[in-house]
């Protein structure tokens, strides 16, 4: 079996003491980042990328470290959802629906352990799915020419804009802002500067890391200044932690079903973990029916979104690694990491650098077990983290962001740009304009234009070439449906609102 020999290569790398150490550190930092309210997986990974880069880690090590942080943050997000009723990140929102009522009923420990186990099941199954599906998809990806890639990029923007936002026009504007920023700098084909306004600092283009850190981390600081940290409620006390075996057994099927739903949602480009946990919760709610008591603190209501959320996080890695198209905000940030490390994701990655892919997959498997150990017996340590007050946390995040970006280029101009992106991110989020499409646009803009131009060179300027193959027509259709359909579905599939007390 090729799969096993590949896994052997992976474990060979992942089980070296150094890589193992990085995975453990990554899991630890990740869980803390996920648990802290106001620091989700996207901002957490974003502010750490410049630092990893300056530390001079090699590609595999850096990737192992950051994906462990990513998985860890997905686990950690549930802690503040359950104890504080504040989702640490967007996908953890669904966990508050049943997790917080259960914690209020004096079963906080049970809720944390149950959700930890559900996270493990979801993430583990998704990693196995990634192992099986990614090489197959990589084979399909070999059939992709420039026309197909152009359609695929379009699909990513369309589904992301369609599903993850409330207003299609605003999502499209966000995508255009990102793509427009990506155009700035020297044009690869002609070697002439474009849209720089004669500013020398802009000739190299705008570094996507500057934009990501600005939009995610700095904008968050402005939100905290606006609210004066008032969003931090005292929450529920955690007493004794025992393992609720009965609840875990009773929600076994729920975890399995939710993992499958979450994984599929994660694989779809642009859909991501929020959709995964949402669909998992809603489908379990309808299976349980009225008698299920969802929303009142039932075990299955905690298991479903957590398994779905973590399965989607693993599923989102499939399109990111095989096609170079991220499935969510955080995977977009991971794509930025790959690009910083000079790794081009895509089918070639699987044949040319198998050690990177399989080392990563093996580390994810190991990271999962580490996370289960950290999150069940050691959960009390992470609960302590919640007591870090925002007046220390947010200035700290700002300083780390500044140092990270400053150490990349050593220029004040990038820092100014970062503050600018922070202001932009604040205003856009106030206006309900999603910021993830901007990141995706900056990351993919160059590739998208390149695909279009190469397609036109191949066809000698014939625009119908874009719709000439079965694959590209299918992608175009999915793109249009993915963008338009949510407008009509929005009234039917209403998101449950956060419970307030």
């Amino acid at each position: 079996m090729e799969l096993f020999s590949n896994l052997a290569i992976g474990f060979d790398i992942a089980l070296s003491p150094y890589t193992l150490m990085l995975a453990v550190i990554g899991c630890f930092i990740g869980t803390i980042i996920g648990a802290l309210p106001g620091l989700g997986p996207s901002n957490g990974v974003a502010i750490l990328i410049p630092l990893t880069f300056t530390m001079g880690l090699d590609a595999t090590s850096a990737l192992v470290l950051m994906t462990s942080v990513y998985y860890g943050a997905m686990y950690g997000g549930r802690i503040s959802s359950i104890l504080l009723n504040i989702p640490g990140d967007e996908p953890a929102l669904m966990t508050t629906l049943d997790g917080y009522p259960m914690a209020k009923a004096g079963r906080a420990g049970d809720a944390l352990v149950l959700s930890g186990v559900a996270s493990f099941v979801g993430a583990f199954l998704a990693t196995v799915g990634l192992m099986l599906l990614a090489p197959m998809l990589a084979q399909v990806a070999f059939l992709f020419g420039p026309a197909e890639y152009f359609a695929l990029y379009l699909l990513a923007f369309a589904t992301l804009g369609g599903m993850a936002s409330n207003n299609q026009a605003k999502a499209a504007i966000a995508s255009c802002i990102g793509l427009g920023i990506a155009m700035i700098g020297v044009d690869n084909n002609s070697g002439l500067p474009r849209l720089t306004g004669g500013n020398m600092h802009l000739f190299d283009g705008i570094d996507f890391l500057v934009a990501i850190v600005g939009l995610f981390a700095i904008a968050e600081v402005f939100f905290f200044i606006e609210s004066h940290g008032k969003n931090t409620s005292i929450g529920v006390k955690l007493e004794k932690v025992t393992i609720p075996v009965k609840d875990i057994m009773a929600s076994g099927w729920t975890m399995l079903r939710s993992s499958v739903v979450g994984f599929i949602a994660g694989v779809l480009p642009g859909a991501g973990a929020s959709l995964g946990s949402f669909l998992a919760y809603m489908s379990e709610k309808s299976i349980a029916g009225e008698k299920g008591g969802f929303g009142t603190g039932v075990p299955r209501g905690i298991a479903a979104p957590e398994a779905g959320n973590n399965a989607a996080a693993g599923g989102a890695l499939v399109p990111m690694l095989t096609l170079g198209v991220p499935g969510s905000g955080t995977t977009a940030v991971l794509l930025a990491l790959l690009m910083t490390l000079n790794i081009t994701p895509g089918p070639m990655l699987f044949t040319e650098r198998p050690e990177v892919v399989w080392g990563l997959i093996a580390s994810l498997l190991i990271a999962n077990f580490v996370l289960l150990l950290m999150n069940v017996p050691m959960v009390k340590i992470f609960v302590k983290v919640l007591s870090v007050p925002p007046w220390v946390l947010l200035p700290g995040v700002t300083m780390i962001s500044f140092v990270g970006i400053y150490s990349l280029s050593g220029s004040y101009f990038d820092l100014l740009l970062m503050v600018g992106f922070g202001v932009l991110g604040y205003v856009l989020r106030k206006l309900d304009v999603p910021t993830v499409p901007i990141i995706l646009g900056i990351l993919l803009g160059g590739h998208m234009e390149d695909a279009l131009r190469r397609a036109m060179v191949l066809s000698n300027g014939d625009w119908t070439f874009l719709f000439s193959s079965g694959i590209s027509i299918t992608l175009w259709i999915i793109a249009v449906v993915g963008f338009v359909a949510p407008m009509f579905l929005r009234n039917i599939l209403k998101k449950p609102q956060r419970i307030t007390d």
């Binding site: 002609s190 474009r194 200035p395 150490s407 106030k430 131009r453």
Partner: protein, 146 residues
């Protein structure tokens, strides 16, 4: 309503300006069939169209903060810009302590704790960056240490 109308109008104007400047992009003699202008112009047009849609069909207004909060947000931006300029000539420790204190004070206005947080963060982060991560940070202004 009003916020979205203004936002839509601004997006449309910026997009049109973007299209106009994309028209000015120089093309070289080796141009491919698409050239360096087409894609930026396309993006600008889509953005302008969407901007008009938002202006015509606005969402309800978000909850904007009161004027005083806007003042403190503006102050935060000014402080961060100042920090960006100060980091190179003044070294890491002093600008970081000042900026972190001000931000901390703005999140929770208690002067003593804010200064403590600022100084603590400045020294703590410096030690982590310098010795644990090995980044080449300059602690004090060059003129002081010679």
């Amino acid at each position: 309503m009003a916020s979205d109308r203004i936002f839509g109008a601004v997006v449309t104007l910026v997009a049109l300006a973007y299209v106009a400047s994309a028209m000015q992009i120089q093309t070289s003699f080796m141009a491919d069939p698409v050239g360096p202008r087409t894609f930026p112009i396309l993006i600008g047009c889509v953005a302008a169209l969407c901007g008009m849609i938002v202006a015509v069909k606005p969402d309800p207004d978000p909850e904007w903060p009161v004027l005083a909060t806007f003042g403190s947000l503006a102050l935060a931006v000014v402080v961060l810009v100042g920090y960006a300029y100060a980091l190179k000539p003044l070294g890491f420790l002093i600008p970081t302590a000042i900026t972190a204190s001000i931000l901390s004070y703005q999140i929770e206005p208690r002067a003593g704790r804010a200064v403590l947080a600022g100084v603590g963060l400045s020294i703590g982060l410096f030690l982590i960056f310098k010795f644990a991560l090995g980044l080449g940070l300059v602690p004090f202004p060059k003129s002081l240490t010679g």
